[in-house]
Symmetry: C2
Subunit: 228 residues, 2 copies
DNA sequence: TTCATAGTTCGATCGTAACCGAAGCATCGC
DNA sequence: GCGATGCTTCGGTTACGATCGAACTATGAA
C-alpha cells in the first residue's frame, strides 16, 4: 500500500462538480475571470474563489492579475491533456450529463481543445493530412513528412519556426465527441491560429465552440478534402 | 456550461484516498479479494465493500465470484491507462505521498503496469529496443520494424500471433517513477509473459513489484544492453 | 448439523467540505 | 476625494459521505 504518487488529491480536486465545470470551461484555452468561472460552476463568487484557490495550490491553475480582474488559466498543457483524457474516458463509459445525442451541434462540429482544433473538423483535418501524405501515423504517434512541410509552407506555416520549443510538433489528441484522434502539438496550434488569422473562423465568447464563416467553411473543406 | 461528459463523477470516485489506494493496487493487473483491498485501503471490510460497490457501478471495476471469494479487477485497460496517467501527472506535480527518494527500490527497478513491464527495467528495455533498431519511435508513437520482428522471433515471440486483436501492438506508456516511456501494448504484454514463462522473473504476492532471479537478471541485461 | 470464513447491509456517528451572507481589500472611473 | 466593480476572507450553517459495530447471507469445511 501507499505506493507511488498521490492520485486521490487530484481526483478530489476534479471530483467536485463546480470545480470540474470550471476546469472543463478552461479547457477552451481562454483565460477566464473568477466571476465568469463562478457562472459556469453555478455557484456564487465567494464559493468560486475558494475553489479556485484550491485548484491553484493543487497546481492545476495559474492566475494572472490584470487591473481589478484575475484571469485564470490551466497551469499548463499537461493539465489540459489530463482533463481531455478524463472526458474521453467518461464519454466512453456513458458518464454523460445529458443523453449523448447531438445536443450541442456547434460544439461537435468544431471546438477548441486547449489551443488546437477538435470536434468533427479537427478529426477531418488530421484524416485529410494523413491521406495526402503530409503526416504519417505510426502506431499512436504522428510525424510530419517532407511533403507535409512544403505543403504547409504553401498555406503560410513555416514549420521551422515551430520546432524550437520542447513541445512536440505533432501530437495526437483523442476526442471525446468523435472518439477519434485529432491533431494537437505546436503544429495543431499553429494551424488553428492561421484559421483565426485568416478570418475563416472565430472563437465564441462563452462556449468552446468555434464558428466558421461561410467563406472559411468553403476554404477549410477545400483544403482538407475527404476522399471517401 | 455543462458541456461534454461528466468528469466530476469519476474524479470523485478516484478522489477518495481509500479508493485510490485500491485502484492503484489493482493496476498491478492481479485480481484481489475484498479483504485484501480493504487492507491496502487501510479500512475495514464493511467500508471497503461499499467503496467497491461504488467503483463497480461507476464502471471502474468488475467482480467475479469464485467460491466464497469475490475477485475484483479493473474493468478494462482504459481504466488502467487512466490511473497510470493520473499517477504520471501527480508525480510531475510533486504530489507524492512520501518524498521522492528511492523509497521502494524493488518497485522502482521493475514493476507491473497492468500487464506489462514498467520501472527502470521497463524503460531500459524500450531504450534498448529502439537503439538496436527493433522499434522505431515516431513522435510519441512506437512502431515495430522488420528487424525487430525477426529479432523477437529469436526469443520466441511471434508477432503474427499478436496482431489480431484491436489492441495496438506497441504503445508507449509514461512511467511515474522514471518519467520516461516504456513499452505497453500487446507486445509489451507478450514480452513480460515470456520473462515470467522462462522463469527469469516472478510476480510478488502483495506488491506490484517484479522480482528477477539472478539468472534472469543476467539474461535480461544481456538481451537489452545499454550502450551509453 | 455446526462452525468458520468471506462478504454485504443496516444504523448511527462524526468530520469535513461546500455553500452563502456579510464584511473587508483592491482597483478603476469619475 | 467618492462610489462602483471584482474578488477575497470570515463566520456559521448544512449536507453529504466515510467510517465502523452489529446483524445478516452465503459458501466451504468438519
Amino acid at each position: 500500500m501507499k505506493e507511488g504518487p498521490d492520485i486521490a488529491q487530484i481526483g478530489a480536486l476534479i471530483g467536485d462538480p463546480a470545480r470540474a465545470n470550471m476546469l472543463a470551461a478552461l479547457t477552451g484555452g481562454r483565460a477566464l475571470t473568477a466571476t465568469e468561472l463562478a457562472g459556469v460552476g453555478g455557484i456564487t463568487v465567494q464559493t468560486a474563489s475558494t475553489h479556485l484557490a484550491k485548484l491553484e495550490v493543487g497546481g492545476l491553475l495559474t492566475q494572472r492579475k490584470q487591473g481589478r480582474h484575475r484571469y485564470f488559466t490551466l497551469a499548463d498543457e499537461a493539465v489540459a491533456r489530463l482533463i481531455e483524457s478524463m472526458m474521453g474516458f467518461a464519454a466512453g463509459r456513458g458518464h454523460l450529463r445529458h443523453r449523448p445525442g447531438p445536443k450541442e451541434p456547434a460544439l461537435r462540429k468544431a471546438r477548441i481543445c486547449y489551443d488546437h482544433l477538435a470536434g468533427d473538423y479537427g478529426v477531418r483535418m488530421l484524416d485529410s493530412l494523413i491521406a495526402s501524405g503530409s503526416i504519417e501515423a505510426v502506431g499512436e504517434g504522428l510525424a510530419l513528412t517532407e511533403k507535409g512541410e512544403s505543403d504547409l509552407k504553401c498555406i503560410g506555416i513555416d514549420v521551422g519556426d515551430l520546432g524550437s520549443s520542447r513541445r512536440p510538433l505533432c501530437r495526437s489528441c483523442l476526442d471525446w465527441s468523435e472518439r477519434r484522434a485529432h491533431l494537437a502539438g505546436s503544429l495543431g496550434k499553429a494551424l488553428l491560429l492561421s484559421f483565426l488569422d485568416k478570418g475563416w473562423a472565430r472563437r465564441t465568447a462563452e462556449s468552446r465552440s468555434i464558428l466558421f464563416s461561410p467563406e472559411g467553411d468553403r476554404q477549410f473543406l477545400r483544403l482538407f478534402p475527404i476522399d471517401a
